[in-house]
Symmetry: C2
Subunit: 597 residues, 2 copies
Amino acid sequence: MTDVLSRRDIDFLLYEWLDVVSLTTRKRFAEHSKDTFDAVLDLSADIAHKHFATHNKKADANEPTMRPDGTVEMIPEVQQALDIFSAAGLTAGQFDETVGGMQLPTTVARAAMAWFQAANAGTAAYPFLTAANANLIATYGTAQQIDDYVRPMLEGRWFGTMCLSEPQAGSSLADITARALPQDGSYRLTGTKMWISGGDHELSENIVHLVLAKTPGGGTGVKGISLFIVPKFLPGSGGVLGERNDVTLVGLNHKMGNRGTTNTLLSFGDGTHSPHGQAGAIGFLVGEEHRGLSYMFHMMNEARIGVGFVATALGYAGYLQSLEYAKVRTQGRPVGAKDPSAPPVPIIDHADVRRMLMAQKSYVEGALALGLYCSRLVDEQNTAFDESAGADAGLLLDVLTPIAKSWPSQWCLEANSLAIQVHGGYGYTRDYDVEQFYRDNRLNPIHEGTHGIQGLDLLGRKVAMHDGAGVTLLGSKIAETIGRARRIGSDAARYADELEGVWDRMVEVTSALLSAQDVAAALANSSVYLEAFGHTVIAWIWLEQLTSVDGKTGDFYDGKRAATHYFYTYELSKVGPQLELLGRMDRTLVDLNPAVF
Amino acid sequence: MTDVLSRRDIDFLLYEWLDVVSLTTRKRFAEHSKDTFDAVLDLSADIAHKHFATHNKKADANEPTMRPDGTVEMIPEVQQALDIFSAAGLTAGQFDETVGGMQLPTTVARAAMAWFQAANAGTAAYPFLTAANANLIATYGTAQQIDDYVRPMLEGRWFGTMCLSEPQAGSSLADITARALPQDGSYRLTGTKMWISGGDHELSENIVHLVLAKTPGGGTGVKGISLFIVPKFLPGSGGVLGERNDVTLVGLNHKMGNRGTTNTLLSFGDGTHSPHGQAGAIGFLVGEEHRGLSYMFHMMNEARIGVGFVATALGYAGYLQSLEYAKVRTQGRPVGAKDPSAPPVPIIDHADVRRMLMAQKSYVEGALALGLYCSRLVDEQNTAFDESAGADAGLLLDVLTPIAKSWPSQWCLEANSLAIQVHGGYGYTRDYDVEQFYRDNRLNPIHEGTHGIQGLDLLGRKVAMHDGAGVTLLGSKIAETIGRARRIGSDAARYADELEGVWDRMVEVTSALLSAQDVAAALANSSVYLEAFGHTVIAWIWLEQLTSVDGKTGDFYDGKRAATHYFYTYELSKVGPQLELLGRMDRTLVDLNPAVF
């Protein structure tokens, strides 16, 4: 079996570029060393290949179904894989030792998790959602809530979800109608939640839902939203499960891809169950009333980077499979070879196949580097010696988060399309894996905020906040990289010049958009802005990698050089016309009469 | 149900732009009128909506399977739909009356066929392949072959296939190993053919395979290839079927999409059957020995334009569904609306949704216009009063064919992705149709020659032939359009200037590539050339449409203006960086050491 990720690349990114070993000088990570990091990575790759990749196709072909009794049927390999994952303690990778975690740097924990996402995105989603849920309760919950919920989740006995959307309100959380009324120190919830991944199943003893609902007195819109823990089974005394809560699986969504994860419509408080003798789902408030959305954003920011990782992992797995295929499949002859009796060559010898492979390499390695860079910022934010360094890391992370979510979702999906194309007709069949990667990956530009939402977040919020401090800080980081690049040789200096030109223009256009009186026109093309910004960021990330391989020899480092060359030659040039369009602040789409469609 | 195509747009393209009614002055079409054209279009839309669209999803969810006895099981709706299609005489739309056809212009016949392709690409493939097969035999076959095979195919009683690829030779026909040995006036064939659509089923009384195989004495490579008619059942006397021929279904391919069409691995001459008491598939030579590939190219060129139509039709159907969804789905509020208690607006009010709809509109209407323009060239080639006009049409068609195949395959697939995105999470589920369109459409950049093959055909053959006469002719057509556009107003004049600039640069780059000593470097980015050329052609096609709506008022015409504006503002600008890249003739990919991947 082809590896689902490149360990060599991960080692380069973690140890040669991001220097994660230096994190062991921080108190939080003092018990760790390169050896413990390697052990987690080795273990993750091993379990991912042996227990996750092995049922990826089967899970896709046999999606979960709902039995007449309301339980969920799925292939047994999912449970087996998750049991092994939980037993290895991997859910708790980056959590505090005090709650049973390994206290790993986020950077290492994310790299470890990526193996599972590349091997089987569907099965990997359960612990991924559980860790995000547990992290939120660990941050905002009471000591009792942490004991009651975080511990069993980190032990892998309970799983977690996040319940935001409703059928009538996908991205528009202001319009949710789920309600929570206080009663006896807890709350009773009623309402319907849509698109809840891992929303029901029998894989774990219990399921901990984190639910957004409106409480009285909070006003209209997002202000009235509070956050609740709503367990499927109420916690009993002494660790045994208590009563069944009033949360009911209404139906499973049947998707194009990502079929291994149950995706559900859940009803809260419809009276199917009657905890404490009364209909209504019992919920426990997290933090304060009416601050639910701000807590949830903590989790959503983490989840957005997580979605970027899933997209990257799927792109990476497809790249490696198409690379392997291109080396062994023979067809055709080189341009100019006239002798039809000469044997056909491996298709990797054809320039167009090389282009498709190099594009994939530049997308998936660029995306992985960005994801790990953002994870390193999380570590910096949490553990920097110096408070201002931590704050800077947080600011940079804020600006980069919509890119870390959207760019891999767009370009690693494109990588999957190229992986199919390299395989030709075979890649379009279910005999190969790449068509599934392509279907699975198509979800990622949608969930955790669509492409359009990420664009509005970036242009309407992130680049504007603190008088543009985030963009200024990113600019200074880019300038540092450009400075280093100029010292290492003519190719790097040329890329540096190009990046500088694009970045200067990006800053100009950003200023013009932010100072425009006509806000609707300024924001009309925020998706284009998102794409232009994303390609520029990835060009910077490639220049960063290039400066890290300076003076090093061998195929691996030459590959980084070649991919940087590719990105600057074939990709960065796409940004110019986008910035020109943005600068024009064309009102056509805003003013359009919809009847003309 | 939402319509699968826009009849208003088809009427505009056929009657207001391409003036197909003027074709009725040609002898071949003298029996026709706008009324007969309308009748065929009405009938097609009606049958497509009532009998094809209705089982599109069911056919996708229940793909054909092979029974133990080697026959093929599929849902009964396919047979029912095809019986109605055949009874209406639609297979024979553009064929001569002498063989039972309607003698319709190709332009009208293609427009009629597009309804079926939009409604159900899987089921529509059977008559589409049959017509292509019949057209080849009608062109190169003997009178007897036409009687024996073309007539029953046009009556819809027999279906046809084309058998080119083999498992070890997809695009590289020089490497096929199927062999044909002469015996008793016919031939005996042996070999294996892969990816044969409609290769076996029980939908028709008989299946007529057109098979490429090598005959002795033709030399190596493509020169040895001859073309054979190999029927599943040999024709008997008096119209009854004769013996079963030695063609055996080995297996069905299971694809990501396009599941409604059986796609097969066929074995010829393996002795499963023994026609005339002897193993070996009996085949009848078409035309002369060793000229098989040139005959097949006739069919392949037609099929390439046909693939472009399927891609367009799928894109169009998705566009119309997402447009309808965007009008009825409410969510969120306009940028700047501060009152969260105001009701949510239809999502078509959001600029980013409008961008996604307008992009789709510009892709699918642009692609349909190009497809019909090419079909009009076929009619001109076949029926022009003036021989040189016919030759010109043929030359232009040669240059445009790779674009007519590749551009819709790339951009109408992108349209399908945008249709999913407009639907949000719902679009990713199988409750809506758009995810199927996206899966179905992903085949089109692969079959009938991949994107890479089309690029080599365009740059390595079409633009070079006859000293660049094709490009020169296209340039003169573009110049005419530019001249007309400049006379109709300032917007049109601006587009004209932009198109002129891009085209001039395209010609410069083309000359540089064609005169380069380093052929490998010149051809290394032929896929990029294909994309740049394609976007430029579509920009021209939009300017053509714009000049056709001059002076006309109303929403429909305003929509054409808006889509032209979109294409020139958001799309044409992508070409500049591509031409710059091409002009550089970068050897990186050619020289690359594959070990660096």
